[in-house]
Amino acid sequence: MNRYPLWKYIIIAASILLGLLYTLPNFFGESPAVQISPLRAGAHTDTALLQRVEQTLKQQNIPYSGTILEATGIKIRFADTDTQIKAKDILSAEIDSNDYIVALNLLPNSPQWMRHISALPMYLGLDLRGGVHFMLQVDMDGALTKSLDRFSADLRSTLREKRIPSAGISRERSKVIIKFRDGQARERAIAEFKKAFEDLDFQPDNSAGEPRLVISIKPEALIGMQNSAVQRNITTLRNRVNELGVAEPIIQQAGADRVIVQLPGVQDTAKAKEILGRTATLEVRMVDEKGDIDAALRGAVPLGTELFTERGSGPILVKKQILLTGDRITDAQPGFDQDNQPAVHLTLDNNGSRIFKQLTRNNVGKRMAILLVEKNLTEVVTAPVIREEIGGGRVQISGKMSSIEARDVALLLRAGALAAPMEIVEERTVGPSLGAENITKGFNSTLYGFLGVAAFIMVYYSSIGVISTIALAINLLFLIGLLSILQATLTLPGMAGMALTVGMAIDANVLINERIRDEIRHGASPQAAIHAGYDRAWDAIIDTNLTTMLAGIGLMVFGSGPVKGFAVVLCLGILTTLFSAVTVSRAMVNLMYGNRKLTHVPIGSIKMLKKSSKKN
């Protein structure tokens, strides 16, 4: 009765083999490497680049132990971190930083053929490898305000174009309000607006004693705007992170309005935060020439204007209306103007070029201000007089700046502006030494826990206990293999989950073994006792594991970050337990005892019940 069909043994053997195969890469360790990846669509990593890299390293006498050419980049392996850092410095000097990023990385040491069958080591979480984790929150109110400001500018120009008289346009929190002289003008405005602005909702209102129009953004459009704001911010962040030269950064959306940025191996958090948090946008506005600057300096800023300081010059009054923003910039490069002064050359997109052309044509002879908004600080970079119409979308900003400033401004503008302001709401930084310590600690607690349980079970249940222990070891093998196949991120709580799986998985075998002992006590024959033990324990095993699984799912759904890592391991551990504790251990028992005449079950000494006959 204790025999498995051949196919069951084959399945079990195959899964153990697979488990071994996919667990193996975790034991090879990692070696220091330098990674060169393309930064722009135009840059390729090809054999030519690889040859250049190899040649450079040979010239400088830097030994390397291998190169990998992939579509996503070139990776060069080194013997130690000193050589790695030296090589990185040399290569970053050699390779154009506008086209490629050169970053430090770690490469698994597992052999090539393993990588071909995607047998890769688990991805280590930041708490195990060191690095920084940021959670950024997108300020949706800020995004809303920004787009409402843009809408009011567009509404105003529509009114002007259609020659509809109005008595003022203003923004009140999440609404734009336009005052009209009479109801008829309002009717005409609504008709015109409805044609041009699909995303807006128009509500006539007479409560203030004059005909007003209350304009708000439609809820569905609002959701779309929020989504696109987050998406655009992610793109911008990706550009900025690239400037940092980090290997394998993670930038992803978390929830409706949050973005997670993980930078493995980054130590200089100050630099990282500065680059991430920089928000530089460009605004083009007109200078208010008639305004009284002296009065403004005393606090009486004329309506519709703002007071700023012009770089290298004095205070300047600028109109509030934004004519063009940095969103329209497709490229920004540092350079020099005709007078050999440092300048930033901008390229505008189609729409931007059109707006800029129209703007310069209509305002010849007037002064235009170019403002740089960075970290909530606004500064007028330059305020030139428009001499002629400028077409073609090529604009040059040459204020009073140094060439270093020009380079920084160009970089910031190129990295793009954020669609909405962002704020760091969570930061977790782990030093590399602590990360390495955490790995050792997590590994040790699993190891010692396993040894303790194994020792006890083997002594207590003798031969069957040895089988239970092997099943437990196979369980751990399956778990690590599964985590590696899924390329799950291993964290310290994940390692705790692994240790806990060891402690909890043995429950299934204890249930079975105790059942077998029970059956023997009640006078069952050895083979029947084994059979009944496995059979009857199954109900209890499935019930206990499913309820624990329920808790695991609860943690997965509602938990975040490290807790989620724990939950994933816990749930996978339950699945492997169900298989290994029942099927694998039974296969071993069947193989060892199934074909034999047993005089007793080798499950340790058992106190027999005196009254056992009464029970049946």
């Binding site: 708490d127 929150q137 958090t269 100050a270 935060k273 948090g277 704020e423 760091i424 969570e426 930061e427 977790r428 930084t429 782990v430 030093g431 030494s433 602590l434 955490n438 600690k441 997590g442 607690s445 826990g449 396993f450 303790g452 349980v453 006890f456 207590y460 310290l492 709580p493 705790a496 240790a499 402690g503 043995i506 204890v510 249930l511 105790e514 029947a528 009944a532 009857r536 109900d539 209890a540 019930d543 206990t544 309820t547 699984m549 329920l550 808790a551 695991g552 609860g554 943690l555 759904v557 509602f558 938990g559 807790v563 724990f566 939950a567 000494s605 058992i606 019940l609 009254k611 029970k615």
Partner: protein, 309 residues
């Protein structure tokens, strides 16, 4: 070896007056401590900054405090952490330092004072994130509790689900009570441990319920009380061995897992100990009080075929 074997059934349910009294005392004092002392919530929930730094020599905490006071943070909590060279600094949420640039200021000041200082870990959590985590934690607790009741009601009968969850919540409350009384730090990993305990300690009740159902079929003439006591006694050795094994692993985590897993292991230890107690001394008598009887279980499913030896 055969340690935990008992010749006769132990009349667990007979001690219910004692166990109920004890549990009511535990529950009331847990609630009392939670209400008066509250939990010592970590930055995960409250928001704020925690920094772990390490000096080359044993750290002079007063000097560190002075440095922090000089840069306008007299309210920083500075204490040793693990060894005498490791220092933990806690800073409350500061309005003027939104966005987590506080840690930079601190590191710069400490580096200026002693260049050998090494940053080991920084955690900054904004207040809005902390509130959310607490909310999600409570939701998870609710979800898991309801899930367990539903599952047990489906597999056994509603009385089993109810008695089990009463015992379980008792365990959770005990853990929270202990953390409140000793003012141990309650962080995200402890919350994970609490939920894991919720799932784990239900195992006990499930194994016993399973045996009760079987006994109802087998011992046809026995009273409910007898059936329950027999089920507990028969599963006793499994209970002790299983919990012993899990506890062994948890102790290993406590000893070798480092500071990060300390409180996690602590919470699990309390959960495991009280898990045994509550599933035997609370869940089973509650089942009796709720009036569980043979008909509840036996008529639902046809008895499984017995394997005749």
């Amino acid at each position: 070896m055969d340690f935990f074997r008992f010749e006769n059934d132990i009349p667990f349910t007979r001690y219910r007056l004692f166990s109920f009294t004890l549990s009511i005392i535990i529950t009331i004092s847990s609630v009392y401590f939670l209400a008066t002392k509250g939990l010592n919530l970590a930055v995960d929930f409250t928001g704020g900054t925690v920094m772990e730094i390490s000096y080359q020599q044993p750290a002079d905490l007063n000097k560190t405090r002075q440095v922090l006071a000089d840069i306008g943070m007299p309210d920083a909590i500075v204490q040793n952490f693990g060894t005498s060279r490791d220092v933990m600094i806690r800073l409350p949420v500061k309005e003027e330092h939104a966005g987590g640039d506080l840690s930079e200021t601190v590191i710069a000041a400490l580096k200026a004072d002693d260049p050998s200082v090494e940053m080991r870990r920084i955690e900054f959590v904004g207040p809005q994130v902390g509130d959310e985590l607490l909310e999600n934690g409570l939701l998870a607790l609710l979800f898991v509790a309801m899930g367990i009741v539903a599952y047990l009601a489906f597999r056994f009968e509603w009385k089993f689900g109810v008695s089990c969850i009463i015992a379980n919540l008792h365990d959770v409350l005990t853990i929270l009570g202990c953390f409140s009384f000793f003012q141990w730090e309650f962080d995200l990993t402890v919350l994970a441990a609490v939920l894991a305990v919720l799932g784990y300690s239900v195992n006990e009740s499930v194994v016993i319920s399973d045996r009760i159902r079987e006994n109802f079929r087998k011992l046809r003439k026995a009273t409910t009380e007898h059936v329950i006591n027999n089920a507990i006694t028969e599963t006793m050795s499994r209970t002790i061995i299983t919990h012993g094994s899990t506890q062994l692993v948890v102790v290993s985590m406590f000893l070798f897992g480092g500071e990060a897993l300390h409180n996690f292991a602590l919470a699990l230890t309390i959960g495991i100990l009280f898990g045994i107690y509550s599933s035997i001394m609370i869940a089973s008598p509650t089942l009796l009080l709720l009036g569980a009887k043979r008909e509840d279980l036996v008529k639902i499913r046809k008895p499984k075929e017995e394997v005749v030896p």
